[in-house]
């Protein structure tokens, strides 16, 4: 009887330890910086999709940021604010959003469109992270 009790106690102890270990390690880590880096990659991928369709180059050459913004809409998380600014060599040539402490940006470089060399830096700004 005493032996069975020891086995029972040991089993309960092992179960307790297992429960604590599983509980502590089950949640994946979640860091704001990690999350933002993920958003950066997702946004970059979204811009490359627009570039592959050929829409982006035309819009950039025409400084049509509202069209780029609309085309990006399906790819951007609904809880985030975002805006697009086009830069030439030295400065922005379209409106830049006022900076916010939690703002991140993703750049995409373009050399222009066919037969129209026009180097541009298309920057997507994202903010409003929880």
């Amino acid at each position: 009887m005493k032996g069975q009790m020891y086995i029972l106690e040991a089993t309960i102890s092992i179960l307790l330890i297992l429960f604590i270990v599983v509980y502590l390690f089950q949640n994946p880590f979640n860091s704001p910086e990690y999350e933002r880096m993920n958003y950066k990659i997702k946004t970059y991928k979204a811009i490359t999709v627009l570039d592959d369709t050929g829409k982006l180059r035309k819009d950039v050459v025409n400084n049509n940021v509202s069209s780029i913004r609309d085309n990006l809409y399906p790819f951007i998380s609904k809880n985030l604010n975002y805006n697009v600014t086009i830069f030439n060599d030295t400065s922005n040539i379209t409106m830049k959003p006022s900076s916010s402490s939690d703002m991140i940006s993703v750049s995409y470089f373009l050399a222009g469109d066919f037969d129209n060399y026009l180097p541009r830096d298309v920057r997507v700004y994202l903010w409003g992270f929880e």
């Binding site: 330890i17 604590i20 270990v21 502590l24 390690f25 880590f29 860091s31 910086e33 990690y34 880096m37 993920n38 950066k40 990659i41 970059y44 991928k45 490359t48 060599d89 030295t90 750049s107 995409y108 470089f109 373009l110 050399a111 222009g112 469109d113 066919f114 037969d115 129209n116 060399y117 180097p119 830096d121």
Partner: protein, 206 residues
């Protein structure tokens, strides 16, 4: 003997604290590792964007043949400035070869955006004549070779006796041929990215 129960309590508390510390330390290293991996992935994407657009400049300037190499030079400068804004270094060496297909002339233009002055050298095939030029950073150097249209040539570009690359061009009679040699390096926050390649184009006129 009376304190046996208290000892168990203390031991369990210590075990619990050790487990939490262990969990936190693993978490932090996991976070750092994953963040690093993501940063490298992002920089890699960035670099491929630069390389693709560098190649793209030639295609974009296709109908304005005189400006191809100048546009590559300008775009290299553009990227370098943009990278400087991000406190990242960008090194670029470019050689543009062009033949008109009609005049037995080949223009070779070297662009130095290596962030340092170089003593650049050019050699046509295995000729004994080696042309050289002291090139400041952000400068270009152009020379012309007399060739036979329709033949193949190897241009060896070098600098500071430490760098040597062969560039091949197969010229065509009555057709303009353009060859671009790219050596692109981006010094990322974690890793250095490098691409070295050459691309040939048969140019058409509009």
């Amino acid at each position: 003997m009376k304190s046996k129960g208290q000892m168990f309590l203390i031991m369990s508390a210590v075990t619990f604290i050790v487990l939490i510390l262990l969990k936190n330390s693993i978490n932090i290293s996991d976070i750092l590792q994953n963040k690093r991996e993501l940063e490298v992935r992002f920089e890699k994407e960035y670099f491929s964007n630069i390389v693709d657009e560098m190649k793209g400049v030639v295609g974009i300037s296709f109908y304005n043949q005189d400006n191809i190499t100048n546009n590559v030079f300008d775009f290299g400068n553009f990227i370098r400035r943009k990278m400087k804004e991000r406190t990242q270094d960008f090194d670029f060496l470019y050689v543009g070869l062009v033949t008109a297909g009609i005049d037995n002339n080949m223009s070779v233009k070297v662009i130095n955006l290596l962030n340092k002055p170089i003593n650049a050298t050019l050699r046509l095939n295995s000729s004994d004549i080696v042309n050289n030029s002291e090139m400041a950073d952000a400068s270009s150097w152009e020379i012309y070779y007399i060739i036979t249209e329709g033949s193949g040539y190897v241009i060896t570009v070098g600098y500071n006796d430490t760098y040597r690359e062969n560039i091949t061009i197969n010229t065509k009679i009555n057709k303009s041929v353009y060859v671009g040699f790219f050596d692109i390096t981006l010094y990322g926050a974690k890793t250095t990215y490098k691409e070295k390649f050459q691309k040939s184009y048969i140019l058409t006129t509009r």
